[in-house]
Amino acid sequence: MASSNLAGAIAEFTDVNALVHAAEKLRDAGFRKWDVHTPYPVHGLDKAMGIKRSIISYFSFVGMVGGLTTALGLQWWTGADSYKLNIGGKGFFDWQFSMPIDFELTVLGTAIFTALGLFHLCKLPTWYNKYQEDESFKKATDDTFVVTIDANDDRFSAEGTQSLLVSLGGSNVHVVESALK
């Protein structure tokens, strides 16, 4: 059985096709708590890992509605309700001059919520990763693809998972102890 501070198993890959193939196999084997770390974006990896479409657009939508409401509300309240100003004989709340502000604040609201939503979904900022002291893991920022399978995955077993990773073409397969107790 896994000891209490076992982080998980790690494997290195150097060939991108072998990596994608391994990801497909791990997905089909039913692993849930695992990840692939690559130095650059690999096309088609999302699909191979079985990652569903991001829900980020719902964050964007909330930001869009918020931005548009703010724009309309602020212009109506300041210009047509609280302090009426006649500017060039235009109406107090004409849709024409309201449009640039509506557009800009809609875009701003959408952008802010998308960026914040992205941080949230990527669990940023993450100050500590249980693999971070591992030498193989560090190579993921340089020239190696790294697959990690967490020890708390239901299908994890120190021996079985390591031999699975080896059979998928992973090199330097080993288990990682978490530095945190």
Binding site: H43, Q96, F97, P100
Partner: protein, 403 residues
């Protein structure tokens, strides 16, 4: 790889038949307009069809230049479809001849070419640019530039087909695409000044070039998407075209119908805010006299409808939704140009002979005629060359592309 010539497929044969039918139908319609509707209306409808398809043909060239400029991988398998639809480019001068003839007729749709322009202070001041000789010279220059662009870009693209191991022709296009894009930008801008904006010579808009470009570009992408889908549905080019290409064409269609709305609103907004009589006359006239209905249709069909139809990510990969989007966009582009041309010419016709008109079936005739010409000349290109740039160094990237 071997060349993929679709010249003898049922789809291309069908296109040819449809093209012939449209030409006959359009020519009969134009003749009917000439006899019953008056010469001004005839020339207006002719100009409408002519500029709709010339704009798309030249913008297809621009699309090709843009792919070379950015060395785009995704588009290689559909780029030749765009290049095949440039068939009208060598004949622009021929098709512009009736419009040039029109300048000298009593029924000229261009007010600045009338004798009475000599007594109009503003038109006298503008006569250094707006005179018949310079107009003809400019049209000639556009034709030459476009022909040069066609020969260079499409010429090199086709040359690449025969020898995949030597990529000199593609390199030439990569190097020279940027200047051709500038040539396109300037020529399409000035041509839209000459053919469209000068229909109302007292009026001007500095956003005119980019406004008409936005319409042409989104219409070109729609034609490209429609043709790609038809090829795919007919079982052709299936090893080259994937849902990734449809997705990207959908994105461009979505983006540029929004871009059109952005530019159209900006143009309107600046004129509305400044409220100067010589600028507002354009919208003032079009917001009354029964023209306003087409303006409202335009807002819905050129922006709201494509925006809603093409917004979702998965929808851009579904061919039937793309067809719906493309048809809506092409209809809107037609209404857009009609809304520019027909009210202006109606005004001129009223001054010439007292006959005013509103939109009717007549406006479709020129479009039908040139739709036929457009299709037939594309068919010629499909018979001549491979339907996929098989020698292109980026073709494999396009086939395996994953967005």
């Amino acid at each position: 790889m071997t060349s993929v010539n679709l010249g003898s497929t049922p789809l291309i044969a069908k296109m040819q038949k449809v093209g012939f039918a449209l030409i006959v139908l359009g020519a009969l319609g134009l003749a009917a307009v000439f006899i019953t509707g008056g010469q001004e209306r005839f020339f207006a409808d002719y100009l409408l069809g002519f500029w709709f398809f010339t704009g798309i043909s030249v913008t297809m060239l621009f699309f090709s230049a843009l792919q070379y400029l950015t060395r785009a991988g995704w588009s290689v398998s559909v780029r030749r479809t765009a290049e095949n639809f440039t068939g009208m480019v060598p004949y622009v001068a021929l098709f512009a001849a009736p419009i040039i003839y029109n300048l000298f007729s009593h029924h000229s749709i261009y007010e600045w070419s009338h004798e009475s322009a000599a007594t109009d202070h503003l038109l006298v001041a503008k006569s250094g640019y707006l005179n018949t000789t310079f107009f003809i010279v400019r049209i000639g220059i556009y034709c030459l530039l476009w022909f040069g662009m066609l020969r260079f870009l499409v010429g090199n693209s086709v040359k690449q087909d025969s020898n995949a191991s030597d990529i000199t022709p593609t390199r030439k296009n990569w190097k020279r695409a940027a200047p051709w894009v500038i040539v396109y930008a300037l020529s399409i801008t000035f041509c839209s000044f000459d053919l469209l904006m000068s229909l109302e010579p007292h009026w001007f808009s500095t956003m005119w070039g980019v406004y008409t470009f936005a319409g042409h570009f989104v219409a070109s992408i729609s034609v490209l998407a429609l043709m790609t889908i038809w090829l795919y549905k007919a079982g052709l080019l299936r090893q080259y075209i994937t849902s990734e290409q449809f997705h990207d064409l959908g994105k461009l269609m979505f983006a540029f119908s929004s871009f059109w709305a952005y530019i159209a609103f900006s143009q309107y907004f600046i004129i509305w805010y400044a409220n100067l009589p010589e600028e507002t006359i354009y919208f003032e006239f079009r917001m009354h006299n029964q023209w306003e209905i087409w303006g409202y249709i335009l807002i819905v069909s050129h922006f709201v409808a494509p925006f809603i139809v093409l917004l979702r990510q998965d929808v851009k990969r579904k061919m039937n939704f793309l067809i719906a989007g493309a048809v809506i966009v092409l209809f809107s582009h037609f209404v857009d140009l009609a809304w520019i041309i027909i009210p202006a010419v109606s005004k001129v016709a009223a001054a010439n002979s007292g006959e005013q008109f509103t939109m009717g079936w007549q406006e479709l005739t020129g479009w039908l005629f040139f739709a036929g010409v457009f299709l037939l000349l594309a068919v010629q290109n499909y018979k001549k060359r491979s339907a996929v740039p098989i020698g292109d160094p980026l073709l494999q990237e396009s086939v395996h592309y994953n967005s």
